[in-house]
Every structure is written in C-alpha cells, then in structure tokens.
C-alpha cells in the first residue's frame, strides 16, 4: 500500500500544477436551465431546526432554502441588500425612529396560507422579545427596537429607541426566517422540530446524521429578471459529512457538487488536479478571524506593554504569505475585514503595533517591551480548540514567532466545549479566540470589545473594562454618515489594538470553494451564512 501511494504521488506530481484563478460562476449570457437536484455537503447536523434559536451555519445551509427573510443579500451583488418578502426598501420616518416595511401580497406558506404582516410581527416579536422559555441568542442585536407593529395587512413597522446605522441591514439577517403566526400561536416551539415557510423549497424529509432533502415550491413568489419562475432546481439534497477528507472524496467522486463553507488550498489543488475539466473555483476574503486574547485579569497581561509585545512579535505579513499556501488564512487586517467597506488602508494599518512590515524591528521592540515590563523570559499556556483548520497551524505559527522573542508558549489544546467553558470562566492566560459574522458591520465585529462587565459580558474574553472604549464604540454605532464612521472605527482600532493592545487579530480567513462546474448561479460572498436560499442556483447540462 505504501508503495502504491508513492506511485500515485509520482503520477500526480507530473500533472500540471493547478491554477488557483477564480472562475466566474455565472457565465455571461448563459440562460439558466430549470430542473435537476443539487447535492451539497454540510459538515455538521443542526441541533434544532429553528433559525431564531441556533447559531451554527450547519442550520442555514440545509434549512435556509425553506424560508424567506424580510430582506436578503442580493445573490448577484452580495454587498447589497435587496427585498425578499418586502415589496420595497424600508422607509424611515423624519426622526429616523420609525422604520416602515411594505410586504409583498402574493406570498403563500407551504401549507397554502397567505403571508401577512401578522406573520412578520409574530416572527420579530419572537426574535426581539422572546417569552420566557424561548431562546433568542441574537435578541441583543435588536436592543434598539422598542416595538414591532402591524398597522395594515401588508405593512410592518419597527419603532426604534434611537436612530441606528445598522438596524436596516440587520433586517437581512440570514437567521430571521419568517414563520407563520398561526403555527407560533399553536406552539411557540413548533419550528424547533418542524419546517414550514415561504421559501423556494419545501421540506421533503431528512435522515438524522445523514441527509436533508428539499423539493421545489411551485408556488414560490420569486421570479428572475426575465420573469421566469424561481427556483430553477427541482430539488436539493444536503449530505452531512463531518470529516473533511471524506468531503473532498465526495466531490471528487461526484457524489456531491459543492460545499458552501470552504476547503483548504490543498484540498482545492487536489480536486483541481483530479477533476481538471469538471471543477470551478471561487475564492473571497472571509469575515472570520482569529484573535489573540490575553487575559487582562492575569499577571503580567494586565500590563499593556506585555500585550503589545505579544502582538509585535508576530510578523503577520510573512505569516499570511506562508500560511495561505496550506490553510485558510491569508490577509492581514485590523478589526474590520481587509478589502471590506470598513477596512483601513494598508498605509494606516502598518502604523499599528504588530502590523508593520519590518518584522525584525518589531521583534526587537517586543523584546525591549518585555524587558521593560520585567518579564524577558515570559512563559504562559496558550489556550486553543482542537479543530485543525485553521486553529492548529495558526497556533503553531504564533508559538514559533513568540519563541523568537524569548516567550515560551505552551500549546494547551481542548475540545470545543471545555475550551468555551475556559473562555467564559476566564480560566486561561492567553487564548486563541475567533469570530465570524454575516456582514461587514462594525457593530458586529466590535461586539467583543465592549467592557467585559457591561455590554461585553460573555463576549469580551480579554476581561477588561474601559468606559472610553465603550464610548467610542457607541459613537460609531450612532454615526449614520459612512465616511465619518470609517474614521471612528479607525480610531477604535488604533486605541484597542495598539495603545491598550487588549486583543488583536492574527490573520483573516480566506474562503475557497471548489465545486463541480455544472453548478451555476451561485456566487461566493464574504461569509458562509448569507445567500443560501438556492433560489437562483441551477445546473448546467453536460
């Protein structure tokens, strides 16, 4: 067997190196063909079926096609929000405290009942004001809402406590499936174990731990720009495959066409070598990032000099270049996604400690800081979770960088559950944290930076309290002029990552989707949460 695999390797090495160029998903002028079944991979099974309740993408991929949202991200331009169940974009009152949304009047649930504003109100009431015993983990994102009203049959109204820059885009949250008021009235937990929406596909059964099936909803309200009825597909089938090697095998043997979260560069190259004529690849910077989080409650990490030294020691530019060859991290960035709408320019970024391009100077500065702080031979335990991609390579890289300035970091790897428990209990010295969001939005990406004993409770694992920073985060959230907001966010980055060096990103993730090129009409975005209703996806005939 060993010999055989050597031979295989020899063969594959002579093959042409794969091109990692991004292939366009929608070839210009091609007319979508209806029909067919899309099979795709999901690497976990959702605990319940209720999007309001869960936080894993593993729920969105198989279940999102059953539902509609008020607004969604435009499948053709994923930076733009477009109406879904809404008939038009929301209207704000003059004082910006009332947001009015007009609904489509031609929408039916899969059970045949018509959708009205009562359904939307019941849905948002459940999300924003959950009754006792009902869990809504994202209720906090709507703290600005004081009431949801349904003044007319097809009109919905959100009353706000103060003007908010992010509220309107939050109406496009991929988790906010619109449910039936009647079903919720019968049993508010109905949707934990049942599926009944207005989306392009209706539920067609599932096998626990194995697959999830949806079939075309003939009554779906959506139409494409030529007026043809959506969805194009007859059906879809999500296969639950936890092991990533098995996932690659499934695509390679054409048992699955696509996986919507992402593969490593290596897996992409293996696939394109094995399927040179059948593979398309899309890549994009991802709104996911690992943070180095020093626990400011533990000595010597209460000293900003030590925290800055930890950041300075890491040469992110060299690391990004090297790690992007083998794992899913790539771009150097601050608190907002590099190349995203709120990102700073590189010229600004390099001024922040640890983001400069002179690695040697940075390391010398780090050594000086450690010496000044009285801990030239700092050693600590570095808490990490036992997920190999990309946590393991990122940690190995960090440990090696720190070693070069005299820091001994011991890799303390735990299963996700005890890892989370340690984070939440403050039971660590320095941790590798992570964050993923569905939107480039400072309110989301800065949520971890609120004071730990106030708004950041359960989110801020660096455990500092800083009213000045709270004030800065609050101010940017109320700023509705985009240009000014970017400036405010830049100031926050300078303060939180450099001056105080509370916690800081390592490298931003990079999303790579290799898939069978028969799949058309799906475009990669900056996250793996949105754009999953599959209404516009179609299969090319070969």
């Amino acid at each position: 067997m060993l010999v055989l695999s050597l031979v295989l390797a020899a063969c594959s090495q002579t093959a042409k190196p794969p091109t990692s160029s991004v292939s366009p998903s929608v070839a210009g002028g091609e007319k979508p063909a209806p029909g067919g079944t899309l099979t795709f991979i999901v690497n976990a099974e959702p605990p319940s079926y209720d999007g309001h309740r869960e936080t894993t993408f593993a729920l969105l991929h198989p279940i999102a096609p059953h539902y509609s949202l008020l607004y969604k991200f435009d499948p053709n331009d994923l930076t733009k929000v477009t109406p879904d169940l809404a008939a038009e974009m929301p209207q704000a009152s003059a004082d910006k405290l009332t947001i009015t949304v007009k609904l489509r009047q031609d929408v039916k649930f899969h059970d045949g009942t018509a959708l009205t504003s009562e359904d939307v109100k019941a849905t948002y009431d459940k999300i924003i004001f959950p009754p006792t015993g009902v869990l809504s983990p994202r209720a906090g994102a709507y703290a600005v809402v004081s009431a949801v009203n349904a003044p007319e049959k097809y009109t919905i109204e959100f009353k706000l406590k103060y003007p908010s820059a992010s509220f309107q885009t939050n109406l496009a949250s991929p988790w906010n499936f619109i449910y039936s008021a009647a079903k919720l009235k019968g049993d508010i937990k109905f949707y934990e174990k049942n599926v009944m929406g207005t989306g392009p596909f209706s539920y067609d059964g599932n096998t626990k731990g194995q697959d999830w099936k949806g079939k075309k909803n003939a009554d779906y309200f959506g139409k494409d720009k030529d007026g043809a009825k959506l969805p194009y597909l007859d059906a879809y089938k999500a296969l639950i495959i936890t092991d990533s090697n098995a996932g690659v095998t499934a695509i390679r043997s054409k048992q699955a066409m696509i996986e919507f979260r992402g593969f490593t560069p290596q897996q992409r190259d293996d696939l394109s070598r094995a399927l040179p004529n059948d593979l398309a690849i899309q890549e994009n910077p991802w709104i996911c990032v690992n943070y180095v989080v020093p626990n400011t409650q533990k000595k010597p990490f209460d000293d900003p000099r030590v925290r800055r030294a930890l950041s300075l020691a890491v040469d992110r530019w060299v690391g990004g270049e090297a790690l992007s060859k083998t794992t899913i991290v790539k771009d150097v960035g601050g608190l907002m996604r590099p190349k995203g709408p709120f990102a700073q320019s590189d010229t600004e970024l390099v001024k922040i400690a640890g983001f400069g391009k002179d690695g040697k100077a940075n390391k010398d500065a780090a050594k000086a800081l450690l010496a000044a702080a009285g801990v030239p031979n700092l050693s600590f335990k570095f808490l990490n979770r036992n997920i190999s991609t990309p946590y393991e390579p990122v940690a190995v890289y960090l440990i090696n960088e720190w070693k070069q300035v005299g820091i001994t970091a011991t890799h303390d790897v735990k299963e996700t559950s005890p890892y989370q428990a340690d984070l939440r209990a403050g039971n660590f010295e320095v941790a590798l944290d992570f964050n993923c969001d569905f939107l480039d939005e400072p309110d989301l990406q800065l949520a971890k930076f609120w004071s730990a004993s106030k708004a950041g409770k359960g989110l801020n694992f660096a455990y500092y309290d800083d009213t000045k920073l709270d004030g800065m985060i609050d101010a940017q959230s109320r700023e509705t002029d985009p240009a000014k907001r970017i400036q405010l966010v830049g100031a926050i980055e300078k303060y939180a990552m450099d001056e105080m060096a509370y916690q800081y990103p390592v490298l931003w993730w990079y999303r790579i989707i290799p898939y069978l090129n028969t799949v058309r009409g799906w475009k990669i975005g900056s996250n793996h949460y949105t754009n999953q209703d599959l209404a516009t996806v179609w299969l090319a005939k070969k």
């Binding site: 083998t326 997920i387 393991e392 890799h411 790897v413």
Partner: protein, 312 residues
Amino acid sequence: MSGTGSALDSAREAEDVIKRRYLESAGRRRFMRFWRDFVRQRPLGTAGAVLIVIMLLAAAFADIVAPYDPTAINFADLLLPPAPDHLLGTDNFGRDVFSRVLFGSRTALAVGFTASLVGCTLGLVLGVLGAYVGGRTDQIIQRLMDVLLSFPLIVIAIAVVAALGTGEDKLANVIAAITVPIVPRVARVVRSSALSVVQMPYIEATRSVGAGAVRIMFRHVAPNVFAPYLIMLTAFLGQAILLEASLSFLGLGVFEPTPSWGLMLRGAGMQFLERAPWLAIAPGVAISMAVFGFNLFGDSLRDALDPRLRTG
C-alpha cells in the same frame, strides 16, 4: 515477632540471601540460554526484537542523530520532497520530517511503555489480589473490571483527555487515557492464571509457615503468572502506540508542535496525502514498524515461554 531473637532472624536472612543468590545465578544462566534458543529458533521474534532495538536507539540518540530542531519552522522550505538535505522531506511548516520522526519515537515509546507497564502492572496486582484473597474482594474486583470492560473504550479515552486536558505538556493524560482500558483485560487473564497457582500445595505450605499475605502474593504468586504478564506487556505496547495514533486522529491525542507519529499521520499526513505523501508515509511506516516489532516479538515470546497459553 521482631523481639524474639535477632540472631534467629539474621540467620534466616542469611540463608535467604544465599538461596536467592543461587537462584539468581542459575536464573542468569537460564536467561542466556533462553535468548540463545530464542534467536536460533524464532526468526520472526528476532526480527521483531531488532525493530524494537532500532526504535530504542532512535529515541535514545534523537538529539545527536536528528539534523534539525524538530519544531523549528522554516517558511522558505515548505513541503519539500525527500532529498539529501531533508532525508524525509519537510512538512507544511518547513520542519524536517526525519527529525520529527526521530523525536516522535520518544513520544511513542513514552506512551507505549508507560501505558502498558502501568496498565499491565495494575492488572497484575488486581488479578493476583482477586485470585489470592477471593471471596467478596474478588467479587468486587471482578465486577469493577466487568464495568470497565463493557465501557466503550472511546468514552474512557475522551473522558480522561477532556477532564485532564491535552497539549504538549499533557502527555501523561494521553497515557492515562490509554492505560485505563488495559487494566481490566490484563486483570482477567492474570486472575485465571493465578487461580491455578493459588491452589498449589506449596502456597498453602508457605501460608502455614506464617508468611504474610502480601509476601505470598508478590513473592510466590506473582512470579508464577509472570509469563502472561510479559506477553501482554509486549502486545499492549504496540497497541498503545496505535491507540495514540487513533486518539490523535480524533483530535484527542498529542498536540502540535510536539513531534508524535500519530499526530503527524493525522494532521499534515492526511491533509497533504496527495501533494506530499512523504508526510504520511514516514510516520505511517514508523508506527507500523514499531507495532509490528512489538507484536512479532510478543508472539514469539509467548510461544517460547508457554506454548499452551491462550491469550487473544
């Protein structure tokens, strides 16, 4: 007893010493003869022994033999194929695979020896204790062993690892996770062998002379069940190394940057299987050869020590 005459005691002790010396020297001669026969009659076992010796040497002299620091990252040399510079190539961090394999033998031996030694010895103690004392103690031990035996191995492993944590300084926990399942298996076999020893007349005779229970168990019963103990020790040595690889595969074993065969095979080995097969072949061969060696040796040892012994 100590007050009744130290002269008598010391005379007895002297006699004991003489007797032991004689037995030992005879033992040494018998020992040499045993190995001469072993090498001559059992080529497979000898091959196994050679593999084990190679592994021991690799572990002992890893510092000297290894051309590179096994944890030194070098981004300029990512995924290089085997060449004179890097005999077994480099991995996804540019680390030298040959050096990592050499140092990995330390991890493997530490896991293998400690887990099987501690596991088998605990099993030996419990087995002998149960067989000798009998009655309620035996019943309780047996039920406890039944509980451990019927307990899914993976739950024990995950529980120990999760409760105590893993990481580069936590090798002991991985070892503990592998040790626990060994105990009941050994205890069972030892108990059944010990039962027949306990019923022998000379044990009764020793007891009647007034020897203490502990003394009888460890001076007289235990040495007689030493053969199955030794055989299981070598068999579990190999299995412990394999189990560490399986735990690593599930993300519960040794962690980066510690050089470990299981980790190398699971992590980079599986991920870069096609692009850089040397990453999987080197640790894979190392594991297989080590386990192979211990098994071949153990098998032949069993045949040599006791051809009628049945241990699965």
